[in-house]
């Protein structure tokens, strides 16, 4: 029931342009603290799946993608709706979402535990190298410039370190303030960045003043048949593989998956000139990939404790709040919870299709609720969210500060994903490195003599060097 409720709320929030799944999950985290760990996690998975798909209705009907991952769906979905094929566009999108979701669920169910069992043999140095690789992926594959991505990741890493150092019990970067000894709380950080910051960003961009574009009524009698699955079969398989694969890469998420898949579909199409004018392949590619990316992203999150996307960072935080350590030991110590989560993902994918099809007309109406009424309510919810866990005045100041920092970074085009992921993974990397140093009595050599760290560092180097060499070649 919690999964279904999560899917429904996620769909509603995803349908409202300006509100995101990350925002909703950040606000829900303090509430999940009062739930059983399993209930908390399945509710979040429901919201995650729902929010990715909720925006497809408004993207097709109103030309307002509820989330960025529905942007590519809008390019062909809205023209289809204008041609009087709105219902067919929605049906195709939902079917594609289900296929993408189920394909990635299959991969998740098959690979998560073996990867996790393999990772239990990791030494602290191996894990350190893995985190560095994850950060390299996040920095280089983010949409923005490489230097800005690296800067954002460095800043996120640094801001996660103030407080009492758990290894030496020494205070660092606290400037003598006792309130800083506990460090920067993860809840005020996330609520500030992704809820309060998003509100400020919406106001600055004037999202609350934008008006939706209506579609015209037409002949909606064309429903889906098995022939459609045959026609789009190749596209569905390719987009599922692309979505799952891109989702597995840390920090990339559904947005990039839908762009890559859409571009590939256009390149493979016999009629590429129809893309952007109501091509069914475009809608199918985008929706298959963005849903497949959700399951793909859950694989490194569950098996390695390395978040596959921004929303997965919040999922990791929810697990940490309940004292559950995600990563290699999750399937050993909390197997029920891990498999429950995988099952919840399957239920959420199917439930999403039913709910979206049943409520399509109402969702288009919900998207018309003015944002100028909703944004102030999100500010009130942000204050509650930041205050709920710690209950200290400091948490509210942190929430405000990170909201303003998030706005500033978005405005100056610094990517937020490397910043947030480095904030979560940075302290883990430092702790693993120091544990490794303790085990080897200060010997660094395993970092370059052991095969796993060496291979991971080489991949990280190649991943980082590729965009740099590309830009250098482009300049020549």
């Amino acid at each position: 029931m919690l999964t279904l409720a999560g899917v429904f709320v996620g769909i509603v929030v995803g349908a409202i342009p300006g509100l995101t799944g990350a925002m909703l999950i950040a606000l829900l985290l303090p509430i999940t603290f009062y739930m059983q760990p399993f209930h908390a996690v399945v509710a979040i998975v429901g919201v995650y799946v729902g929010s990715v798909s909720g925006g497809l209705i408004t993207a097709i009907m109103l030309r307002m993608p509820g989330t960025v991952s529905n942007l590519m769906t809008m390019l062909d979905g809205y023209p289809m709706a204008q041609q009087g094929r709105a219902r067919r566009a929605i049906a195709l999108s939902v079917a594609a979402s289900v296929v993408g979701g189920l394909a990635s669920w299959l991969v998740l169910a098959m690979l998560a535990e073996p990867i996790s069992r393999w990772a239990t043999r990791f030494t602290p140095f191996d894990y350190f190298a893995l985190v560095i690789l994850a950060l390299a992926f996040v920095v280089t594959l983010s949409e923005q410039a490489f230097v800005k991505g690296l800067l954002a990741a460095t800043l996120g890493f640094l801001l996660a370190l103030p407080g009492i150092d758990p290894s030496s019990a020494q205070a660092r970067m606290t400037f003598g303030f006792v309130e800083m000894n506990a460090g920067i709380g993860i809840m005020p950080f996330f609520v500030g960045m992704f809820a309060f910051g998003a509100v400020l960003s919406d106001v600055l961009n004037g999202t609350h003043l934008k008006k939706p574009t209506e579609t015209k009524d037409g002949d909606d009698s064309q429903s889906l048949t098995l022939k459609d699955f045959k026609t789009h079969g190749g596209n569905l398989v390719r987009s599922s593989i692309v979505g799952t694969g891109v989702g597995i890469l840390p920090g990339i998420g559904s947005n990039i998956a839908s762009v890559v898949s859409y571009t590939l579909a256009r390149n493979f199409s016999k009629t590429p000139e129809r893309f952007g004018k109501g091509a069914e392949e475009g809608v199918v590619a985008s929706e298959t990939a963005n849903n497949a990316a959700v399951g793909g992203a859950l694989i490194p999150t569950l098996a390695l404790g390395v978040p596959g996307s921004l929303v997965d960072v919040l999922l990791l935080t929810a697990l940490t709040i309940h004292a559950i350590q995600p990563g290699p030991l999750l399937f050993v110590n909390s197997g029920d919870l891990a498999y429950g989560l995988i099952a919840a993902y399957l239920i959420a994918t199917v439930a999403m299709a039913v709910i979206v099809l049943a409520t399509a007309r109402w969702l288009a109406a919900i998207a018309k609720v003015p944002l100028y009424l909703l944004l102030p309510i999100i500010i009130a919810a942000s204050v509650v969210g930041a205050f709920a866990l710690e209950g200290t005045p400091m948490s509210l100041w942190v929430m405000l500060a990170f909201g303003l920092l998030g706005l500033l970074m978005e405005w100056l085009e610094y990517p937020l994903a490397p910043f947030a992921i480095a904030f979560v993974l940075g302290p883990i990397a430092e702790a693993k490195l120091r544990t490794g140093m303790q085990m080897t009595a200060g010997d660094w050599s395993p970092l370059y003599t052991q095969p796993i760290p060496l291979v991971l560092f080489v991949i990280a180097f190649l991943v980082s060097a590729l965009p740099l060499s590309k830009s250098l070649l482009a300049k020549r």
Binding site: V147, Q170, G206, Y372, V383, G391, W397, M399, M437
Partner: protein
């Protein structure tokens, strides 16, 4: 603005390095508590310097090419109004947090006032419905106060 941001981050890095220089290395530690943050501070200084130089170069290039061009009317694009709205929303949010942190007014009152003022500022003039704003603010603010001070015992200032 990017130049100011980078300048601020460079200054912050030096400030943090100064604080980290006071952290002593534990005899049982092979890597000092200050080692990783110090490395990150230096990385931040280098990266910010690169972005700073790039931004300054871009600013000079843009200033030269745009000198003869007529400035865009911001009033028409609406950017002035959204910037003012943003400043107001920021100020109201800070005031809201101050009232909670220093228990200046009851939580219900501050929430209702915050909601009403934000909705008033954000709503387009032709669509501003006082009854809707008042009703929604009172019901949401009152509801929040009831839930978070009566049902869930959060330490918000009560009546």
């Amino acid at each position: 603005m990017n130049i100011l941001f980078c300048g601020f981050l460079i200054a912050l890095s030096f400030f943090l390095l100064n604080d980290l220089s006071k952290v002593k290395m534990s005899p049982f530690d092979y890597l000092a508590s200050s080692a990783v943050p110090s490395a990150l501070c230096w990385a931040l200084i280098v990266l910010n310097s690169i972005v700073l130089v790039r931004s300054m170069f871009a600013l000079i290039t843009v200033s030269q090419t745009a000198a003869a061009e007529k400035p865009v009317d911001d009033l028409e694009s609406g950017s002035i109004s959204t910037t003012f709205q943003l400043l107001w929303i920021g100020a109201i949010s800070i005031a809201y947090v101050v009232t909670i942190n220093f228990s200046l007014v009851p939580y219900a009152v501050s929430t209702i006032l915050m909601l009403a003022s934000c909705m008033t500022i954000l709503a387009p003039k032709d669509k501003r419905s006082w009854w809707l704003i008042f009703g929604l603010s009172v019901s949401v603010g009152g509801g929040c106060a009831y839930v978070f001070t009566e049902i869930l015992p959060l330490p918000f200032p009560g009546f």
